[in-house]
């Protein structure tokens, strides 16, 4: 019982602790377009990154692209791949290899000059990809 009280005290201490006020980070937004790469469940995707506030393109960041199935959290996912930056500002490309057709939450992890995560939900079918929640 004493140990439980001690654990509760630790939780309360954690509850009042704040790691510091949130500072204004650059928020990213992304346009995602994917097309079938001609091979089953392989898709070529283009990501256009921009600052969500100013609309300026985001270049020079490391972009890692992964995907999860929202209907099966943690159970079906595509391991992240590194996107290649294109000459056009804010444009990156990557090939996604999925496990099955259906709705996937494409997860864009930006690191380097800007650290952020953008989620785009797309429906991947055999011949076409449609954006559900851009």
């Amino acid at each position: 019982m004493k140990a439980m009280v001690r654990a509760l005290a630790v939780m309360i201490a954690l509850a009042v602790w704040h790691p510091g006020a949130a500072h204004a980070q650059v928020r990213a937004k992304a346009e995602v377009t994917c097309v079938s790469a001609g091979e089953k469940l392989h898709y070529d995707c283009i990501f256009t990154l921009a600052n969500a506030r100013s609309g300026e393109p985001i270049s020079g960041v490391t972009l890692s692209v992964g995907a999860d199935m929202p209907s099966m959290p943690g159970m079906h996912n595509a391991p992240p791949v590194k996107a290649t930056e294109q000459p056009a500002k804010g444009v990156y490309t990557a090939r996604l290899v999925l496990e099955m057709h259906g709705d996937w939450a494409v997860r864009l992890d930006l690191s380097g000059a800007v650290r952020d995560r953008v989620i785009a939900v797309l429906r991947f079918e055999d011949d076409q990809v449609t954006s559900i929640k851009p």
Binding site: A7, P19, R53, M75, H76, N77, P80, E99, R117, V121
Partner: protein
């Protein structure tokens, strides 16, 4: 550490909370297909607290645990009068009701010129606490496992306490427990409340890990899996459901050859284990045997040390 490994371990950690939640109810003899509802309540409650109200994460987690535990206790009062399949169906119905309520929930506020908050079926984005506070993915992984360690410590204490014994007695035979003077209904509601709180903490961590939640994440598939984790891993110890999660998310995830067939393999594994080991891999008998082996090994080491010490003393005496 490899970011993908961090992501798999983080997922394993957060899903462990909801697996432990279903396990606690299994201990009291109840099969719940609805623990994902409290996972959802926790995810939305903690997400709203940090992203919209600007609360610190720890306080948001405490709030989500309270919301999950409160809702579970409230729903437990009428449903725990039911037994077996009736209770299972009631929990499933409740979970679907919660999911649909989140599909209808629209509560958004403008933060830094952007609308943030739950937006019905479009989900709840921008739960950006870890980015706004520069928390690295690995640091968040450590946080997940620190909270999980506290929960496991709680389970260890529970298993050794009078309350834990009563939970297992109720799970073994509720009528017999009642005849022994145990207030079965009260303890079942207490177990439901603790289980709801646990699932909600997992949900809160999940929302901050992924930064995005939507109602369909919390559908029946998650409920079936969380129940299966306990049944695969075993009901003899709280480590059982964690073993179940590790087998599903950790092992099957690392062996990518299964890819889209993982669910079929997982389903087959559940069916097979229910026939061969109905109370899972780490059932009460297995836990007892492991305990005996550990005790023997400890005793063996201790006696070896004793004899070495005695020999040393004898040699010392001869010199």
């Amino acid at each position: 550490m490899d970011p993908y490994l961090v992501s798999v371990l983080s997922n394993t950690g957060v899903i462990s909370f909801v697996a432990l939640s279903a396990y606690l109810l299994l201990l009291t003899g109840e099969v719940s297909f609805g623990q994902q509802a409290f996972f959802a309540i926790g995810a939305y409650a903690a997400g709203i607290a940090t992203a919209m109200w600007g609360w610190p994460l720890a306080l948001a987690l405490v709030w989500s645990a309270a919301a999950g535990a409160g809702c579970a206790a409230l729903i437990g009062i009428p449903t725990l009068r039911l037994h077996g399949v009736y209770f299972a169906i009631a929990t499933l119905a409740f979970a679907e009701m919660v999911r649909i309520l989140f599909e209808l929930l629209r509560y958004r506020v403008e933060i830094d010129g952007q609308l943030v908050g739950p937006d019905g079926t479009d989900g709840f984005r921008d739960i950006r606490y870890i980015f706004d506070n520069n928390i690295e993915e690995f640091e968040f992984l450590v946080l997940i496992y620190a909270v999980l360690a506290i929960v496991l410590l709680g389970f260890m204490l529970l298993e050794r306490s009078r309350l834990g014994v009563m939970f297992r007695m109720i799970g073994g035979d509720a009528t017999l427990a009642s005849l022994q003077g145990i207030a079965v209904a009260r303890y079942k509601v207490l177990a439901a409340g603790i289980a709801g709180g646990l699932a909600a903490v997992g949900g809160g961590l999940y929302a901050h890990l992924t930064t995005y939640v939507e109602p369909r994440i919390f559908d029946v598939m998650l409920g079936v899996h969380t129940l299966a984790y306990g049944l695969i891993g075993g009901l003899g110890t709280a480590l059982g459901p964690l073993l179940g999660v590790a087998i599903d998310i950790g092992l099957l995830e690392s062996v990518r050859i299964f890819a889209g067939y993982r669910m079929i393999i997982f389903g087959g594994l559940v069916a097979l284990l229910l026939i061969v080991r109905p109370r899972g891999l780490l059932d009460e008998r297995a836990v007892h045997k492991i305990g005996q082996l550990l005790r023997r090994a400890t005793r063996g080491t201790a006696s070896m040390h004793d004899s070495t010490g005695a020999e040393g003393r004898t040699k010392g005496g001869l010199q």
